[in-house]
């Protein structure tokens, strides 16, 4: 089944119009969307959350938020934004459910991109 970039954005609950407005060309957006799969910030987030290295988890979450924002992955951006703020405030308890949300959103995002990639 063929999936367009626009459909991919719909699947990961992002803002296709928004990202096209800022980055201008589909070529560029596609390039970075695919590149997102190689970004190590999520691994870092998982590792640091699990080992309790919250400073590092904050930075990783912050990076995911930044990338999500740049690529208009709105859902992932929202959850990572909340996680970032909780970690910034050293609210470890509050961060736990938010982390779960980021995990779910990340999985959803990656699944959508993989599907898009497979159809190229």
């Amino acid at each position: 089944m063929i999936m367009t970039l626009q459909e991919c954005y719909a699947a990961l609950e992002g803002d296709y119009e928004g990202v096209m407005g800022r980055l201008r060309t589909e070529r560029l957006v596609q390039k970075f969307v695919l590149k997102f799969l190689d970004d190590g910030s999520y691994d870092l987030l998982t590792r640091s959350m699990e080992s309790g290295a919250y400073e590092e988890a904050f930075r990783a979450s912050h990076t995911i938020k930044g990338v999500g924002q740049n690529l208009s992955f709105n859902k992932l951006y929202e959850s990572s934004h909340l996680l970032t703020e909780a970690l910034r405030a050293h609210d470890i308890e509050g961060a736990a459910p938010l982390y779960e949300q980021v995990k779910a959103d990340y999985a959803q995002t990656v699944a959508a991109i993989r599907e898009y990639q497979a159809s190229l």
């Binding site: 970075f32 590149k35 990338v67 690529l71």
Partner: protein, 721 residues
């Protein structure tokens, strides 16, 4: 476009994604360098700050965040020349404001728009380029203007001098003297506070003080003898004439230079008591500029040779002026002259050598430009700095020294190019205390010691001298580090770092050690000499005051005979043989020495059975050398009985040796405290030990030479075989 360098942008962001999005947006038009954290960004800036045209900076990064980078950029003053655009999702107003306060040019918040980023980058770069260009234009204009006016004044004043038939030095002298005096006046009193610019202006104007002489007829001007009253009256008009000439200038009346020149031309022959000309002004009615030039004029006239007079020595000239022989001057100026008098000749000489033309002016200007902060980035300044840097680098390379500069905050070391190459280190090292390569070069201990010495220095006494082992290309070398701590100007001063150099002193140090070693040894036998052995022994006893030690002294029986019969050469050979035998047979840790003549010393630590140990050594020393039978007499003293005073021990051992000799030689004795008569006598040779001596037919108790006579026929015969 081919000749134009592409501008370089440094992107500092910890997210590879973000970096590549930015790089992608800008990569077509600019060269991109990437840094994945703040520390790396600072490292890159340290290496190539001058080539980086713009920094795109993220805030949240590991190792060092964006604010850390900005602080470093402020510390190193890169922020003045390198625009920074901050890109971050952090849009809390306080953070943004803080970033602006640290000198960023622009702030872009995420998510960024490709077009916006592109435009802001272009605008910022353009703005900076324009500013740089403007600064250069201003500098060029200032330079051009100063160059021209100085040139005109030079021409003008030389015309006057040329007509005067003078050497051209007078103008230079007046200019220098005026400058010196104004500077000194500033030091003496707060009354005038001439600025640098004013001093330069007044001394330049001083050069044309005699411009009016151009209107004086040549016969009067250059008359070798004394002027008649009438001629003198004409001569005196030159000051007014000069002033009128300036007044008649069609333009520039309000130029500070022209106004100062007017004062100087008109009134440089006025005197403080009102007896000068042309206006007979009194005291401070005379402008200070004219007062200073008047004094300079008189001083130079006295000390220079003129058509009508010889030169007067400077001290004499000052004396004459202070004495009032050349008219009355302002008391403050007299004090000024008195205080400066001693230094004037040297200062004048210095200035004569200098060329007052372009070069000097350029330097003055450069100095001015450097002082004006807003111009610190002009290309001309950069050129001058580049020139300085080149000079520094050249000398650093030539000197084969490792030169370095250390900064406490942010901690970094800059090493001269040659030095870095020599040590195999980077030229710029960020955080040297943690740098593995640095730690492999200099031990942490040495580094801490050096840092400690530097931080304990004072601004008055900032120089530190420290010898350290440095690893250079796999080998260890001694280096002398001489460093000067730098202190901030604030009160109280803060230690900010150091500059210094490390000189390889390995050869010298090794040579010194060899010399020391040589001085410690007896040249013939290679054993320690007595002085050094004594030091070593005292040292050993001091280290282990509770241990048991034995000190033995022995000499070669009938050595004099060997010397007398076979010559000193042979005697020396015997001594060398003894030393070798002793060295071969003593345990590790034993100190052995030649005390003098044929007398040797040994000293060692023992646990028990000192008699067995002594017996072993004693027996090992017995034998023959070139058919000369050798035996020794030995006296031994023990710390167990006598304590650890060296002289006491030595004396006791010597007494025991004496007793051994009296007891018939070829034996050893222990000092036992009462008297030498009751010393115990131990059979020197064990029955089970066969020596060459025995095979030679000697008696096994070693008493062959018991008569002790120095001229034993037996010996002579033996050698004769």
């Amino acid at each position: 476009m081919a000749d134009k360098r592409r501008q370089k942008i440094l992107i500092a962001d910890d997210s590879e994604m973000n970096r590549s999005i930015l790089a992608d947006m800008l990569g077509d038009d600019y060269d991109i360098i990437e840094a994945e954290n703040g520390k790396e960004a600072v490292k890159i800036l340290q290496k190539q700050e001058a080539q980086i045209d713009l920094l795109l900076l993220d805030i949240v990064m590991p190792e060092m965040d964006g604010f850390g980078v900005l602080r470093a950029m402020n510390d190193f003053r890169w922020i003045e020349n390198t625009p920074v655009i901050m890109i971050s999702a952090e849009s809390a107003p306080a953070r943004v404001q803080q970033a602006y306060e640290l000198g960023i040019t622009d702030f872009i918040s995420r998510p960024f728009d490709a077009v916006v980023v592109h435009h802001r980058v272009v605008n910022t770069l353009l703005l900076y380029a324009k500013q740089k260009k403007l600064m250069n234009m201003v500098t060029d204009q200032v330079l051009e203007k100063e160059k021209q006016s100085a040139l005109m004044i030079d021409i003008l004043s030389h015309i006057v001098e040329f007509r005067n038939g003078e050497s051209g030095q007078h103008v230079l002298h007046i200019r220098t003297l005026t400058e010196l005096m104004l500077k000194h006046l500033n030091q003496m009193s707060n009354r005038y506070n001439f600025s640098k610019t004013e001093i330069s202006l007044i001394s330049t104007a001083a050069a044309i003080h005699d411009v009016g002489k151009i209107a004086i007829p040549g016969e009067i001007l250059n008359k070798p003898g004394r002027l008649t009253d009438e001629e003198f009256a004409i001569m005196k008009t030159h000051s007014e004439m000069g002033a009128r000439m300036l007044e008649a200038l069609p333009a520039h009346q309000n130029e500070p230079l022209v106004r100062r020149a007017y004062e100087i031309c008109r009134w440089h022959h006025e005197r403080y008591d009102g007896r000068g000309y042309p206006d007979g002004l009194v005291g401070d009615e005379i402008p200070i500029t004219a007062q200073v030039v008047a004094l300079a004029d008189v001083y130079d006239a006295l000390t220079s040779e003129r058509v009508y007079k010889k030169a007067i020595p400077p001290e004499k000239a000052v004396e004459m002026i202070l004495d009032g022989q050349c008219g009355q001057f302002n008391p403050l100026l007299m004090d000024c002259l008195r205080e400066m008098a001693e230094n004037i000749p040297a200062a004048m000489k210095n200035n004569e050598v200098r060329d007052w033309n372009d070069q000097n002016m350029l330097l003055n200007l450069a100095e001015d430009v450097l002082q004006r902060e807003e111009m610190s980035a002009s290309d001309r300044t950069l050129q001058l700095l580049e020139h300085e840097r080149m000079k520094y680098q050249f000398f650093a390379d030539m000197s084969q020294e490792v030169q370095f500069e250390y900064k406490v905050s942010p901690p970094s070391v800059t090493i001269s190019e040659w030095g870095a190459r020599h040590l195999g280190l980077d030229e710029i090292i960020y955080d040297p205390h943690q740098d593995e390569k640095v730690l492999a070069t200099m031990s942490r201990e040495s580094m801490e010691k050096l840092a400690d010495l530097l931080s304990k220095s004072t601004p008055e006494n900032p120089i530190v001298d420290f010898d350290s082992v440095i690893r250079v290309r796999g080998g260890e070398r001694w280096m002398k580090i001489i460093a000067r701590a730098t202190w901030s100007k604030e009160e109280p001063p803060v230690y900010t770092g150091a500059i210094g150099k490390a000189i390889d002193i390995h050869e010298t140090r090794v040579k010194m050690a060899a010399l020391e070693e040589m001085a410690a040894h007896d040249t013939m036998t290679g054993l320690y000499n007595h002085k050094f052995a004594k030091m070593r022994i005292q040292d050993m006893m001091a280290r282990k005051p509770d241990s048991n030690f034995a000190l033995g002294i022995f000499d070669v029986d009938h050595f004099k005979q060997a010397n007398d019969t076979y010559g000193h050469m042979f005697g020396d050979q015997v001594l060398i043989h003894m030393a070798k035998t002793l060295k071969r047979n003593m345990r590790e840790g034993t100190v052995s020495a030649r005390v003098g003549g044929d007398e040797f010393l040994l000293f060692f630590e023992y646990r028990e059975h000192v008699d067995l140990a002594i017996n072993r050594i004693f027996n090992s020393l017995i034998g023959t050398y070139e058919n000369f039978p050798i035996s020794v007499s030995m006296g031994v003293a023990k710390t167990q009985m006598l304590g650890t005073d060296y002289d006491t021990l030595f004396h006791a051992a010597d007494q025991a040796l004496y007793a051994a000799k009296r007891g018939g030689r070829g034996q050893f004795r222990f000092y036992d405290g009462d008297s030498c008569e009751t010393l115990s006598l131990i059979s020197p040779i064990d029955g089970d030990r066969q020596t060459e001596a025995e095979q030679d037919g000697r008696e096994s108790d070693g008493k062959e030479f018991k008569d002790g006579s120095g001229t034993d026929d037996n010996q002579t015969e033996r050698k004769g075989l």
